[in-house]
Symmetry: C2
Subunit: 473 residues, 2 copies
Amino acid sequence: MKHRETKQKKVRKENLSDWYHWILEEADIVDSRYSIKGMLVYKKWGLLIIREMQRYLESLLEESGHEPTLFPVLIPEDILGKETQHIAGFEEQVFWVTHAGENKLERKLALRPTSETSIYEMFRLWIRSHTDLPLKVHQSCAVYRYETKHTRPLIRGREFLWNEGHAAHADKEDAKKNILEIQDIYGKLIRELLCMPFLIDRRPDWDRFPGADDTYAFDTIMPDGKTLQIATVHDLGQNFSTVFDITYEDSEGKHQHIYQTSYGPSFGRLLAALISIHGDDRGLVLPPKIAPLQVIIIPIIFKESDTAEIMEYAKKIRKKLDSMDVRTEIDAGEERPGAKFYYWEMKGVPLRLEVGPKDLKEKKITVVRRDTGDKSTIAFDEVDDVCKIFEDMSKDLGEKAEKGFNGKMFEAPALEDVGKYAGKGVIKIGWCGRKACAEEIGGYVSILNVDGDPLECVVCGDKGQGVRAAKTY
Amino acid sequence: MKHRETKQKKVRKENLSDWYHWILEEADIVDSRYSIKGMLVYKKWGLLIIREMQRYLESLLEESGHEPTLFPVLIPEDILGKETQHIAGFEEQVFWVTHAGENKLERKLALRPTSETSIYEMFRLWIRSHTDLPLKVHQSCAVYRYETKHTRPLIRGREFLWNEGHAAHADKEDAKKNILEIQDIYGKLIRELLCMPFLIDRRPDWDRFPGADDTYAFDTIMPDGKTLQIATVHDLGQNFSTVFDITYEDSEGKHQHIYQTSYGPSFGRLLAALISIHGDDRGLVLPPKIAPLQVIIIPIIFKESDTAEIMEYAKKIRKKLDSMDVRTEIDAGEERPGAKFYYWEMKGVPLRLEVGPKDLKEKKITVVRRDTGDKSTIAFDEVDDVCKIFEDMSKDLGEKAEKGFNGKMFEAPALEDVGKYAGKGVIKIGWCGRKACAEEIGGYVSILNVDGDPLECVVCGDKGQGVRAAKTY
């Protein structure tokens, strides 16, 4: 392995944005220099992290009865436009294919901004009877939205990678049940795989997915205090099934419109949050479960004559780790150990194993944790301890992130307090539910959710609820 | 598991095309009813097979030094158009994005028909020195071509799934070396994973990839005698590096244009060939390594009172197979065993294990091979034998396919013989190398390759080579 020379490190606390752009390039996450604004080139390390996320999520979804599918990227204009609120919400953002070669197409074709409409056209053909329900499908794909706001790599782009799930239900209750199950699955993905805390926020009506009766968003708090929406779950009611005429025959032979739910996490935004929340000045800090490489073994060789023996020892350790399904590599490159340490720390590899002449002699291994820098020694026969260390790291990383998260929760008894905390985290605010008052609050922050304990509105003083609000990405 | 009622089976030999469309629908491979011609909805079984192919291939490519990447689906017109032969070859097939929302875009954007141009724009930024070479990347993605010919599911479509690899080399020799290495990797994919025979054909100049100096194509022969191109490998020389100005500094400090190779197999076509070559009247026959499900266990229950014990036995078998990483399921549904046999045979699952009261009593398992229908009995303690049976099956399937393939090889000493064998397989024909003679031959078949032993031209009688020709998909 040969490592590139690195650019000047950035200090994360001083300027999160500078640090973020530095590490995206340095760690081979993405390249932002592609010739179309808002479209990224995904590079090896970023893609391998996304691959792990995708496999973990797909496996949970498939266990819960979702069938993998892949629908075309193009949706004819008439189909995209069937549900009026849906198209109203997306029409300004749609990329349109109008020509093929020299020919003007008879119908314009949209690059999917999301796939409800293309999938529901097929649901109409696939669903006949109550025995076909629930029908659940998912797909991992890219979607396209012509963002006019300032784009940011992985956070706001014109092409982004996600997984979208779509389910058809016989009744409202089954739809509700699925919403809870999906919240649980996404919760596992975010908390267990990525060790990140989150909030589930039922969005105000003006912030719902176009065509949904309700939208539940997963928000996390970035180190700079702004929130990032990383996943959403939508209760679509019968809005789409009515216009797409998707019906089933119930057990009494009557035709009923199905109920629907749709949902998706953004792999790009999850990756952006993962990088920002766990990272430090030395670079990425990856929780063990998501790390593409979990252990890097670095042979420490002082005397040329030790090389063969130390390399053999390193290979024995690797073999043992391989058999435990721990993703491991040996860095046998020619750089000095210091340069290797620096490189793999920047890449966020959870554990570094150093094996030098002393380790070899004593049949020991020096183990260094990426998150804390803690150095310890384990016996060769106790390589299994690596798994225990991974568990500790996951727990510690989760707790550290949780602590940062909890430190960014504020309460604003009056409107002037909202201004004080705006941009520092999530603020609990009393709100009466009226749009006019929300707009007043909106001068500082956006309202994230609509449910809370009774609390007087900070604007009009009327009875209301304590809701969450924040500056958002 | 509940199985749908099935439509009338089709006889494969009588009409391959009818059978093919029947099994695509029946086995949940793809749905061809999407509202845009030539664009498919990939369904569970098809997608799971493609997922296995993709993982196998990606793993070989990454072992050989390819970095995974993902480039944007859109390519600006000026970049797609840089290499004149390349754009000339693709311009009639390009889907153009011209608008976003209501706005006309300043530059037209192409849906990638292939990614040479977008990738090489970045190669120019990534490559500086000879130490950066070779640089090899790959991506699994969909590409878009507005086919005007008759479309056929998985064989000729307007959106198709593939993996494309791109490499940058310091010199011609390294490029040649890579071409051989990729031929070896694709050979493994086709022969070892999919148990299919193939030919590697160096294409005549009029049939090269637009912008390539040479194209090596992998052709297989479908049961109807037509050949199907399933993968290609291109020697791009310096054609792209010259116009994209991709240079490196050699060890003497001089700037040199890189040499390039690009290559890709079509997952859709590989799947089409897999289905057609191995299938039989009962449906799919999947080689063990590619089968999403390798073993289906079917409990045979005559007396209600035996249920618990037989199910427990089935679960014990499954557990053992799970621990061996054999993809296994138990079909505990309410259908009669016959219906289950029928269903899983149609799906092509390589092995069926039947466990009934007699098997339980004798601690045995009845094993039925999908390809031959052979029934045998193994002891519970010899479940490992399943792997041996898989090996035999893979070998037998490969040999059977090879036999079919060899039976479709003909020689045509004269032009009238060409007509006789046209559409029945691959024909060895003497050809002088002149375009005019190729056009004469082209009335019957297409010339697949340009290399062969000395043989007189069937058209003009001049000196030539024995080349391969066939009717092609």
